[in-house]
Structures are given as structure tokens and as C-alpha cells.
Symmetry: C2
Subunit: 411 residues, 2 copies
């Protein structure tokens, strides 16, 4: 075997500049701590799989493989299975997005949507504005393009538009190319915050005026469980259609394990995104598309969503009440009207990252420290908690133990 | 609605340099001609979906959603569902690849494997050697990285190693960075050719000596249906483990519509490829992985493969016999020992691309002209035909009509 010459080659000598810049998710480094299955997890970044309609999906699988096996088991168009694109587009139109099946690209979760759009829009060094805090997975995708994330303030009401305008002006005066804003408007990961109508209007107006694209990531928009707050879940894409890319997903509502999301955007961009997908993976799984299409045709998805909202509302109320009862004075948690997450701020002097290992060891409760979510500023007092994973009893018990731990730290 | 400023923005003004270089598959432009469902298709680039085990897959879906719904419907590790990685790795080890589940990344078809590896290895302008002819989809992925494909001759016996060595020397003398060879060693798309042991040994030795990576795309290796030719389907990865990336797929054997492939490679490269996948789409569909794992655990995959080989061998023999009978003198077709395709060379003066539209109109038979597969040289007399799609009767009838058409052109 001619291995002598081969042994001398290190494959690393051939790596691309992009590969040298790849960064793992900052949450991954914490994985041994936060993914220990024996602890109560406020750390999980995933929906509760008990909410997925396994029985109905099983029936849909059987229907698809009985009725259209040759189509469902074959390659499909790069854009995805047309009947599902039609259903997705119709739902988006009902939300105010001017789109159609032809302008809908099915993706491997909304994460692939962001990757495809990043390939279409971003050169190395381009600036993408991101919320502080923001979704860690988006930072990974932006790093994969060697784009530069720069923070804009996300408040309880939305994005601080004055800060955004000033930031763009400053960056441009420094000669930097500001291409886009990445935002999760509805029940954001990690903060759980949403936006009101005026805040969305002002944000879309500012981005249009600044001529930056809006990358609207909306995996949680269907999970509005508290109608009373006046939160507006209508898409930014309905306000700024010429420059908004909308990313949706079934991952939080029907199955995270199917990995089916979608992308809408201006025609010129969609044409390029489809080419980017062709280069990335030819097409997604026809079978998962056909199963979701069959489910949506046979089942009452709206009723399923209503049940899901009730499930998460109850968990949220239980967790928030317990956090308020047990956490030290001066702690604050966002009170989300939807989604899966709350974002906590602890009193001065507490360092959530430094304390994580000891906390998990002593309390057997895990959270995610704030730092991975924050591209600038001090996140030491912050943490993300989810009410999605644990039972009501464990939510209360976890809050009690965690609160006692942080109270002791304060003492 | 603040659409005035927005209307003035063209999203194209924000496009990346990569996006400007995206090219659609050259076969796509021919799609209205070659994908007309009313014609006999020798053009399809896909397996025959009748060969997929729909009934067994349906049972596997039911088992998975009854036995492990919470796991199968949830996100998974970026590398994919561990039990399937273990099965894939065990099969690869049996083929001589020194790998393990930990060194196996499940991908969206082998196409995503190529994209991930391209992200890890290729900077704009880097040269990737490709076979003449080669798989069109690989050229699309390489264009997505702005890499430069340069041709090396693929003969009936393998790659012309002298030509490869001379090509690398010439390119390097011109100051160009030659990073890799992309090859489909077994029953290549489009040529149907394979390699013998000596040719594979010599190729691996040359690539090791030249210090280029080998991107070994092997979707057809399981489809060796003619054992008599002395063809060696053992992987190049078993010969040059330090520099070979092996891409496999279930798309031709169990389901193209599941989109499940895999990647093996040197550890340092696999770590980067996993980060590239995290940036691309977080993870593939846990559900499709779990279903394939359940199928492989419950069914006799080897017997299924044996049936598949018999199916394609029969079709190949029928088509080749009919082509030999009906095509004009001076025509030559490769006689593949596996896979789905044969590559034809017609007599002087025939231009397969120029004739395609009239041929389809007159004969109602479609083929793919050679040009899209060939990065350099004259492909006018070449065409790709597949025996995968049509029934034996239609294969004979199609060959008869197509042969008559080209004989008339010769007259």
C-alpha cells in the first residue's frame, strides 16, 4: 500500500480560509454541563417532543407510502415538494406576505434558510447587525461566511431603532459594508421578547431607508400564547417586501426531527437562493415534505397549534411564578407572550458562566449562561431558561433549587 | 406602509461575489426537453423508484413512531443519529475504510458531503481536478465555491494518471493551487466506467505524492452487477486514508427521497466538516435516519441489494443490445458493470446538443447531450443514456427510434 508519501500529508495544509474561521457554537463547549440527562434542564434549546403529533404523523407516513411511494421516495425539485410549498405559501399569504409557491423554497429548518441567504448576500467582512442578545446558531452561520456580527440593542419592546441607525452610520463612516439585520422578531431566542406594531413599522422603515436587508427568522411566531399583551406577530416581510427574507419552520410545531423550514424573499434573491441550495444539497427530503403535506391535509393544524400554545403557556406561568418566588431580590426575568424561553438578569456580582459548573454539581439544575448570546457588552449577570422541557413539578423544583443557589451566592 | 424608500432598493445591489458566480446545472437548461413525462426517457439522472422498498420503509416508519417518537421527532447531534452512523461505519469498515461512528457524518445525500468538504478545503480560485466527463452536480457545487475545475482524462480503465501528473505539474508551474481530485471511481455518472485494482492503486499513489486531496464520491459502488469484469470497487479511502474524503449515499439503493448520505475522512477534516454542517443546517432529519436504521435492523439489506443489481443488470443488457442493434455504424457505448448509465460516442458530424430538440420532437425519446459533463474538449458526439427508468419494452423501442434518428442524420 502506498502509504509512505500519504503519511507525510496533513490534510490541514489544504484547509480553506473559511474553514480556519469556523467556530463551534459557544453553547457546545458547555454541552457536558448543560446536556447531562440526569439534571433538571432549563438549558435545553429545543421544543418539547411530547407536543409533536406522532400518531398523526405515523398515519401520514403510511398514507404517503401507500399512495405515492414512487414520488415520495424520489428526488424532487430543488425548491421542494410542490403541494407542501403551496400550503406553506397560502399560510404566509394569510399573514400578509406577498408570496406564492413559486417564491417558496423548502429548507432544512430555518437554519439552512439563513445559510443560503448568507451565501447569496455576504462576502467576508460584511457586517450583519444582530440583536443583543441573539440566537447562537445564527452567529455560527455568519462565522461560516466570515461575516462580522455587530450588536444592536433588543429591548422589551423591540429593537432600539435609534441605536440601529446610529450604529449603521458609524460603521459606514468607518468604511464597513453593512448588508443586513438578522432578527427573530417574535418570542426571540434567547430573550423571549416580541414587538408591537409601531416597533415593527419603525424597524422596517429604518431598514428600508438604510438599504439593508432584513433576515427575519420566525420559528416561534405561531407560538403566541398570551394574546393580551398587544404583541404583533405579523411579519416584517409584509412591511418591507423588497428587502426582507422570511424564514419559517415546522420544527417547533410539528417535528424538529423532520427538519423542514422555508424561505420567502424578493424574486431575484430567491432565484439565487435556489442555486445556493442546488449547490448545497440538490434538494431536501421529498418524503418528509410529503408526510407534512399529508398531515396538513388530513388534520386540524390550527387546533394542534392551539393545544401547543396552551401547553407552553401553562409551563411558562408555572416557571415564571416559581422563579419570582425563589430567586434573589433584584433578579428579573422576561415574561414571554410566546415561544420557549425567558431571559434572566441576576443581581450585581453574579457571574452565570463562572458559576455554571458548580451550580450543576450542587443543584442538579442546568441553565445557559448569557455570554454565548451576546456579541458585545457584559453578559455575566444574564442567563437563558426554558420552560419547554420539564414537567410542571420539575419546573418548580428546579426554580427552587436554582433560586436557593443564587441566593446563597448573594449572601 | 413605508414602502417608498424600500421600493428603491434592489436586493441585487447586496449580492455577494459568490452569488454572482452561481451557475445553474447545465442540464437544467435542457429540462423542458429531457423531463417531458410523455417521452421515453434515457435522460433521467435518477434511480428507478420501483426498486425502493416502500412497504418495508412504511413498516419502519410505524416502528420508529411507535417505539421512539420523542427521539425521532427531535433535533439530533450535527453528525446525525448515532445508531445509523454505527451501521454505516461498520459497512465502511468492511470495505476497508478505517473509520468509526465518531468519524462518520450523515449528510443530505452525498451532494451535501461534497459541499461541506468544498467549504473546508476550497478558496476561490483553487483548482479541483475533475474527470472528463464528470458529474454535473459536482460542477455546480464547485462553482458555488468559485473553485476552478480542470479536466483529467477518464478512460475505460480509470483515470489517466500520467495525464493527471502532467496536469498538476503544468498548473503548479503557472502558480495555481491544486487542492483536490474529484472522482466517482465506481460506475461513474455519466460514463458508467469503473476501475481495476492497479488503476486505483496508481491513482491513490499519485494523489498522495502530489499532495492533493481525493474527493471520492461513491453513490454507485453497491451497484456492481457484473462481477466478471475484474472491476475493483474497494474505496480509494482504504488506500490513501490521510487525504481521501469518502462520500456515500442510500439514494440509489433505499430511497433518493430520504436524502441520506455520509462522509468519512481524516479526523481533522471531519471536525471542520461537522462545523460546516452546523453552520449549514444544524443537523439532518433524525426521523429519516431512524427509519433507515430500523429498516437496516429488521430487513435483509444484502438481499435487497442483490435484487437491485439483478434489476439493473437486466435493464442494462437489454438497452445495450438494442443500442448495438439500432445505432449507426461507428457508434460506441460503454458497457457498464454497475450503476445506472452508459456513455455513447456517435460518428463524426453528429452534434447531440444541436439535435436534441428535433430528436425529442420527432422520436419522443430523450437523452442528455455530452456537453454539460465535459469541462474541456469537444463533447458534440457524446451523449448519456440511462437504463434505470424505462421498462424493457420501452428501452428497446427507445433505442430503435433513437438509432433510426441518428442513422438518418448520418445518411
Amino acid at each position: 500500500m502506498p502509504t509512505t508519501a500519504a503519511a507525510a500529508l496533513s490534510i490541514e495544509a489544504l484547509f480553506s480560509t473559511d474553514a480556519r474561521a469556523f467556530v463551534p457554537s459557544a453553547i457546545r463547549a458547555l454541552s457536558p454541563l448543560i446536556n447531562d440527562p440526569t439534571v433538571i434542564s432549563f438549558a435545553a434549546g429545543v421544543p418539547n417532543p411530547e407536543t409533536f403529533p406522532a400518531g398523526e404523523l405515523s398515519k401520514a407516513c403510511a398514507r404517503v407510502l401507500a399512495d405515492l411511494p414512487k414520488r415520495a421516495l424520489q428526488y424532487d425539485a430543488t425548491a421542494g415538494y410542490l403541494p407542501l410549498r403551496e400550503r406553506v405559501a397560502a399560510r404566509s399569504v394569510a399573514k400578509g406576505i406577498a408570496t406564492s409557491a413559486a417564491e417558496t423554497l423548502l429548507t432544512t429548518g430555518s437554519q439552512q434558510g439563513l445559510d443560503l441567504v448568507s451565501r447569496v448576500l455576504l462576502d467576508p467582512g460584511d457586517v450583519v447587525l444582530v440583536e443583543v442578545p441573539t440566537y447562537v446558531g445564527a452567529l455560527v452561520t455568519l462565522a461560516g461566511r466570515r461575516a462580522q456580527p455587530v450588536g444592536v440593542l433588543r429591548t422589551a419592546e423591540g429593537i432600539d431603532v435609534d441605536h440601529l441607525v446610529a450604529t449603521v452610520a458609524r460603521l459606514r463612516s468607518e468604511g464597513r459594508r453593512v448588508k443586513a439585520l438578522y432578527t427573530i422578531p417574535n418570542f426571540q431566542n434567547p430573550a423571549g421578547t416580541a414587538m408591537k406594531k409601531g416597533a415593527k413599522d419603525a424597524l422596517a422603515e429604518a431598514c428600508g431607508r438604510l438599504r439593508i436587508a432584513v433576515l427575519e427568522d420566525d420559528p416561534y411566531g405561531e407560538l403566541l400564547f398570551d394574546e393580551g399583551g398587544g404583541w404583533d406577530t405579523t411579519p416584517l416581510a409584509s412591511r418591507l417586501p423588497s428587502a426582507t427574507v422570511y424564514m419559517g419552520s415546522f420544527s417547533k410545531t410539528l417535528s424538529a426531527g423532520f427538519r423542514v423550514g422555508w424561505l420567502h424573499g424578493p424574486n431575484e434573491l430567491m432565484a439565487k437562493a435556489e442555486l445556493a441550495k442546488q449547490a448545497s444539497d440538490l434538494c431536501s427530503s421529498t418524503f418528509t415534505h410529503a408526510v407534512l403535506d399529508s398531515y396538513l391535509g388530513a388534520c386540524d393544524y390550527e387546533a394542534h397549534l392551539a393545544g401547543l400554545r396552551g401547553f407552553y403557556r401553562e409551563r411558562k406561568e408555572i416557571l415564571l411564578a416559581a422563579l419570582r418566588e425563589h430567586f434573589p431580590e433584584g433578579s428579573r426575568f422576561t415574561d414571554p407572550a410566546g415561544g420557549l424561553f425567558s431571559w434572566g438578569e441576576l443581581p450585581e456580582g453574579i457571574d452565570t458562566k463562572a458559576l455554571l459548573a458548580r451550580c450543576v454539581a450542587e443543584t442538579r439544575v442546568a441553565y445557559v449562561p448569557g455570554e454565548p448570546f451576546v456579541v458585545e457588552g457584559d453578559a455575566r449577570r444574564f442567563l437563558r431558561v426554558t420552560f419547554a422541557k420539564e414537567s410542571p413539578e420539575k419546573l418548580v423544583e428546579g426554580a427552587r433549587r436554582l433560586g436557593a443557589f443564587f441566593r446563597a451566592e448573594r449572601a
